[in-house]
């Protein structure tokens, strides 16, 4: 992404990757991102249709695409819905019709055996995936294991949940979402004087909360429209101006 790629490189499953495109770094090992399969000893094959992206500085290569179902990966921030709770765990739904992820009741900030959070079915939690492999159900945590701090994770009270595409969630979660992800809708809404808070889940969900219900709906609709109509930066600014004018 950091490189200025003059042209887009499209790949289909099973395509051959030109060896000149694979970054080579004298010291760092090559890192493979999503959408690629390594067939030992030295074959690299894309498994999804998308755009091949490389980062020579990190010596990494991956395929960028949008769509499909969320597959949990370690380190992802997700918004889950509590399905039910058992003695030690909450069972949390990350996407519909998939098996539940488990969230230990003690994986919250300041939780002890005596003071554990009480989450009813339907409650929302903002969590990090700490264990994901294909043979087991994913495991979540709402606390950083090294510091014991929540870092913004935990139960989400109030507000409303909106569904967005996986690609949009990825753009919103980028460290530089304005420059790299080209989403300015939240910044513009904030600059327009609206007070609200959001949490974005990598599983295609965005949670919006505000004191005013009107603001919650406006923010959620603005993000969804940006996603569905794939608005450019200028169009997003225009949309925000229009929505804010309509509200006042």
């Amino acid at each position: 992404m950091a490189t200025a790629q003059s042209e887009r490189i499209f790949v289909l499953p099973g395509d051959q990757i030109d060896p000149s495109l694979i970054p080579s770094h004298p010291k760092k090992a090559l890192r493979l991102g999503p959408g690629l399969r390594h067939i030992p000893p030295n074959e690299l094959v894309p498994t999804v249709a998308g755009q091949l992206v490389t980062d020579p500085r990190k010596n990494s290569i991956w395929v960028e695409y949008n769509g499909g179902r969320y597959v949990p990966t370690v380190g992802d921030l997700v918004i889950g819905t509590v399905h039910h709770s058992a003695t030690d765990y909450f069972y949390v739904t990350l996407s519909s019709y998939t098996s539940n992820a488990i969230l230990p009741q003690l994986a919250f900030e300041m939780a002890t055996k005596k003071t554990r959070p009480n989450l009813n079915p339907g409650a929302l939690v903002y969590a990090r995936v700490c264990l994901a492999n294909r043979h087991m159900d994913p495991e979540l945590e709402c606390v950083s294991p090294s510091t014991g701090k929540a870092d913004g994770l935990g139960p989400l009270n109030g507000g409303m949940l909106f569904e967005i595409s996986l690609g949009m969630a990825r753009r919103l979660l980028m460290r530089k979402s304005v420059e790299e992800g080209k989403v300015v809708v939240l910044e513009e809404l904030g600059a327009a004087g609206l007070a609200f808070e959001t949490a974005v889940g990598r599983n295609g969900k965005i949670w919006v909360n505000s004191e005013k219900t009107k603001t919650v709906l406006l923010v959620g609709r603005a993000v969804k429209e940006t996603d569905e109509k794939s608005l450019t930066v200028d169009q997003q600014k225009k949309l925000v101006r229009k929505l804010v004018r309509e509200m006042s």
């Binding site: 992404m1 289909l12 099973g14 499909g68 019709y97 450019t232």
Partner: protein, 252 residues
């Protein structure tokens, strides 16, 4: 004859499915939806790989043995290209709804009759592959498929590519071939009476159709392939997906 010879496709147009595609070619239109990996019923669960479930729904009425036959053919073909070991104990569900079939103007379509199962197979397979690509499920390769009929032409016999329903009815044998994008044969279904030589001929025509040479430096072979009727499906899949990805990643 209002049969479209150019393939058309629409990708990811269903809101609630993980992946979807509508594909029309030579009079057939099929809507495909893919969901997966999702939770599987206990009795269908496989401990080491994903279960692939294909459901074919006909344009009119409810499915019967004909649809079950097609489902089994598509299922065994697709599970060879889907990376099923990436998602053990899950289900990948593929639903194919036929919406249009070409009319045979020589036959009263209202009279129920036993007809061949195979002619719709290429359209179903193509829709399934486009839907899987739209759902971003990991695949080893894509595939292209084509149908051929061997028609008696006086004394000699000729191979007709993408035959019309009338041509299929009057043909002596009918064949469906599928090739992966690595130009490997993955499905070969035939019906009617034919000799091995005829099959070989049909196979080579199908191979030329599904696996066009990618290098365009040889002018002579290009001229030969240009005379083949029908579209280059391999190129079609690529250009369709390129368009979809370019619009998905417009922000990049």
């Amino acid at each position: 004859m209002t049969v479209n010879s150019e393939p058309e496709a629409l990708l990811s147009h269903l809101q609630n499915a993980d992946g979807s595609a509508t594909f029309s070619f030579s009079g057939y239109t099929v809507v495909g939806a893919v969901n997966g990996p999702i939770e599987v019923q206990r009795r269908d669960e496989l401990p080491e790989e994903a279960a692939v479930d294909v459901i074919v729904r006909p344009a009119a009425g409810v499915g019967g043995t004909r649809e079950r036959h097609l489902e089994s053919l598509i299922q065994s073909t697709l599970r060879q290209i889907i990376l099923v070991d990436n998602f053990p104990r899950t289900l990948i569900q593929i639903i194919l709804q036929v919406t249009t079939t070409p009319e045979n103007e020589y036959v009263n379509a209202k009279v129920a009759q036993a007809t061949s199962n195979l002619p719709i197979l290429p359209a179903l397979l193509q829709t399934a592959v486009l839907s899987l690509l739209s759902a971003a499920l990991p695949l080893t390769a894509t595939l292209t498929s084509t149908s051929l009929a061997v028609v008696a032409d006086g004394q000699s016999k000729k191979v007709v590519l993408n035959p019309s329903p009338r041509e299929i009815e009057t043909s002596q044998s009918f064949h469906v071939f599928s090739f992966t994008s690595h130009d490997e044969l993955i499905l070969a279904e035939s019906e009617g009476s034919f000799t091995v030589k005829e099959w070989d001929e049909a196979f080579s025509v199908a191979q030329r159709q599904c696996c066009p040479p990618t290098n365009t430096d040889d002018g002579d072979t290009l001229m030969d392939d240009g005379s083949l009727p029908g579209a280059n499906l391999k190129q079609f899949i690529r250009s369709t997906l390129e368009g979809k990805i370019a619009s998905d990643l417009h922000w990049k």
